[in-house]
Symmetry: C2
């Protein structure tokens, strides 16, 4: 049962039932992705303005058995937004559906359309004195629909959870074109299977998210930021435990950074202000969000003193101003750009149980050392056990020199992650990049259940074909 | 495709492959439920000791097309644990699988079997200085498997979320007898569809949960409890907003109580110490969990002073000791028993958006007044918009006098909930009680998707037949 390409004849018929400018040939920006690993096939892009138009498009694709790739901000790192060549599916961009439909500050809820950009949703929440805590490097261009479809993580997961923890309800066009109107604003609703969590993280393979009811949070009255030198990942985890003992749930971010990251930043972005004369091997960026009357600098100084006495931290900088805090965060947020400037041989978005973080790094470093000489930039959301363990060539070599080794490196790192009970896709998703990994490492009963669900909800296989699940 | 009864021949064959005492005729306690609305058909109960034995039982049932009703603590309020007469399914009790398999205090995680009693899990967490925050009236007998299958709520949802928010991973026997080994201890894992959240809340209709990886939390260093008189539900919600502004996420419970509840407690349980000379029309039980060095009584006094100045509270009691705090909680926790002593004509576990709570109560009270004279005990988890709106006969009449009116009352209340964008099952689930309500009020696209998923994962329809989804 192969798919029909979205050819001129199909597009002409579809266009007849939609406003004049809804369909057009896809410009290059729809066919590219941040890491440059895939290029989409030439195709058409549909740009609907309403859920009803999305439903009409999906229904037409289902009828004609034409594949459909939902497209948000295009920031995904696993190729889920790229339309593969053989099937030539239609692209469906939600970029015209950007409305903040409703704001309910008293209920800590907002209803937004899938095309809304994350930074705009954060801003709309701030305007009613609320926090929408999802935050990640691409927040200026990533859109809500894609963020939910991939269950995005980011820097505030430690306190507020993944994207899925911030969703009260969804509006979704199902693969047959029916609309599930699930935009409830309820904290408790046990009326049947939780379709919401099934759609979140399904990466557009089970339907198109058109709008979401999001959970907002109170805005912390005051925040504190520090950059602390730690002896290593174990010391960092002990520091986190101490921070939580002293400060409870107010620790909102806890990011591990390796010296290699500071080196890359100096090399690729020399204009960025560097905090250290000589960067330490390991450091931690910590952020607190506290209530009225609290003194975050004093809290961080107390934490530092305790941790210093316990031998966990050796030096540190506590931001003395909002500007300095932003400088610290700027370093963390520019790491992906610095990495791209150097050019990774292989990047890994992994998680392991917290108790296995240190062992993972030791084992992976040792195994890779046997395969060659590398620069390894290991950084990430330590409090979630989520590391970006990225492998780069040494100076004088390029990623192209190691194209033959890439798969072996990936396999080596992922084998260690799997052996430690971890995940080979912590926050970026499966997309097209990790379909094979899912087959290799996934639980067979879970994979069988996933295939049964996919076949049940999308029997014609039109939704984001080739993403997440291997097509038969 | 009707089911085969679990008759002596089937049980004999099944027993041959299991330890001698695994199967026995079900004693009356397996055929009863707390509200006395259903009685199960005479049947057999299987009491496996391991996941492997559960898998063998499920596989045998699938092969013979015998229905299977998973049984936890038997505390469910919607009949989901009751085996209906016509199909005579086998009962599957998890009561022998009570192990706390692993404790990971550093990771704030625990792996427990489905038969573990909630209070025992709470206790095991406390022994390693952690909190497992799920808490509800039946915690001394409810078991983890049932609590997750129904996505239980309770009094700490406001701060810690529903049961599903406390689950990192699951081990589940799927309807064909395959075991999904999903007991990960990860905070981030985006490897495919989230089966975990699909199984949680499916009430045993998609598989049998045999173990869970649970999220623990730091234990609050100190707690504070107060019982405050409020002018009404709107004032209570304004008080909650003020409490959160002053105290952030440390508000762990916020329970609304109506005077009728105190009256019922005095009538049914006269030995309980009553806090008021004359109970106020509306009061709120509030609990804080604070960090080291905090003074919860001072925090509650400040809250009271601010709220009193704003006209939100008129009087109040701040617990001066742990014993007094327990007295306050004892009142709240005995409400279900008091209600049973009076005998409800109709009970409703509903939720509405916070902004609609007051309107719901006004409209429901007015509509019911047109149908007769009642005593209404409206109480519950106000911070979650979750009310137990229970309708009782006036003194001198009994529930039996109104048997004919019950359905009309339920319909009237649920119609109002639905019109306000609420849920007719907030925390108790659908079970057998609300199958018709789900058909009436459920979104058609969602229902179609649920049916497709059920047919895909349980094509023989053996798992908890008749619960959640109407059987055709």
């Amino acid at each position: 049962m192969s798919l029909t390409p979205a050819d001129a004849a199909f597009v002409e018929t579809l266009a007849a039932g939609l406003p004049a400018d809804t369909l057009r040939p896809a410009e290059p920006r729809y066919l590219e992705e941040p890491r440059g690993r895939w290029t989409g096939a030439e195709t058409w892009v549909a740009l609907p303005r309403s859920t009803e138009e999305v439903a009409r498009i999906v229904h037409a694709c289902a009828k004609a058995r034409v594949g459909l790739v939902p497209f948000g901000g295009g920031t995904g790192l696993v190729g889920g937004q790229i339309a593969p060549a053989p099937a030539r599916p239609l692209l469906l961009s939600l970029e015209r559906m950007t409305a903040i439909r409703e704001m309910h500050p008293m209920e800590n809820a907002a209803i937004v359309e899938a095309g809304a950009i994350l930074a705009d949703v954060q801003q709309a929440a701030a305007e009613v004195d609320r926090l929408f805590p999802l935050s990640l490097a691409s927040e200026g261009s990533a859109r809500i629909g894609g963020l939910l479809a991939t269950n995005a993580g980011g820097v505030n997961t430690l306190r507020y959870g993944n994207a899925r923890a911030l969703v009260l309800g969804l509006e979704v066009v199902l693969p047959d074109g029916q609309v599930w109107h699930g935009l409830k604003r309820l904290r408790k609703d046990n009326t049947g299977y939780d379709l919401r969590h099934l759609m979140i993280g399904a990466e557009g393979t089970l339907g198109v998210i058109t709008a979401a009811s999001l959970a907002l949070h109170p805005r912390p009255a005051t925040t504190g930021t520090a950059l602390l030198q730690v002896a290593g990942p174990d010391a960092a985890l002990a520091l986190l435990a101490e921070a939580r003992a002293q400060l409870g749930d107010t620790v909102s971010a806890f990011e591990l950074m390796h010296r290699t990251g500071f080196d890359f930043l100096a090399e690729v972005l020399p204009e960025l202000r560097q905090p250290w004369d000589a960067p330490p091997e390991w450091s931690v960026l910590i952020e607190l969000g506290l209530g009225h009357g609290a003194d975050p600098q004093a809290a961080l100084e107390t934490l530092f003193a305790t941790a210093h006495a316990a031998g966990l931290v050796s030096d540190g900088l506590i931001a003395q101003s909002q500007a300095q805090a932003q400088d610290f965060w700027s370093l963390r947020e520019h790491l992906p750009i610095a990495n791209r400037g150097i050019g990774a041989v292989s990047s890994h978005d992994i998680s392991v149980p917290l108790g296995a973080v240190s062992e993972f790094i030791t084992r992976a470093d040792a195994a890779l050392a046997e395969m060659g000489r590398w620069r390894i930039n290991c950084f990430g959301h330590l409090g979630d056990g989520n590391l970006h363990y990225n492998v780069f060539p040494i100076p004088g070599e390029s990623r192209a020199d190691h194209a033959d080794t890439r798969d072996a490196i990936k396999r080596c790192v992922h084998d260690i992650v799997h052996a430690l009970g971890g995940s080979v896709s912590a926050e970026h998703g499966v997309g097209r990049l990790k379909v094979e990994d899912l087959e290799r490492y996934g639980d067979p009963a879970k994979l069988a259940a996933m295939r049964a669900i996919k076949a049940a909800l999308d029997p014609r296989g039109i939704m984001n074909p080739g993403a997440v699940l291997a097509t038969g």
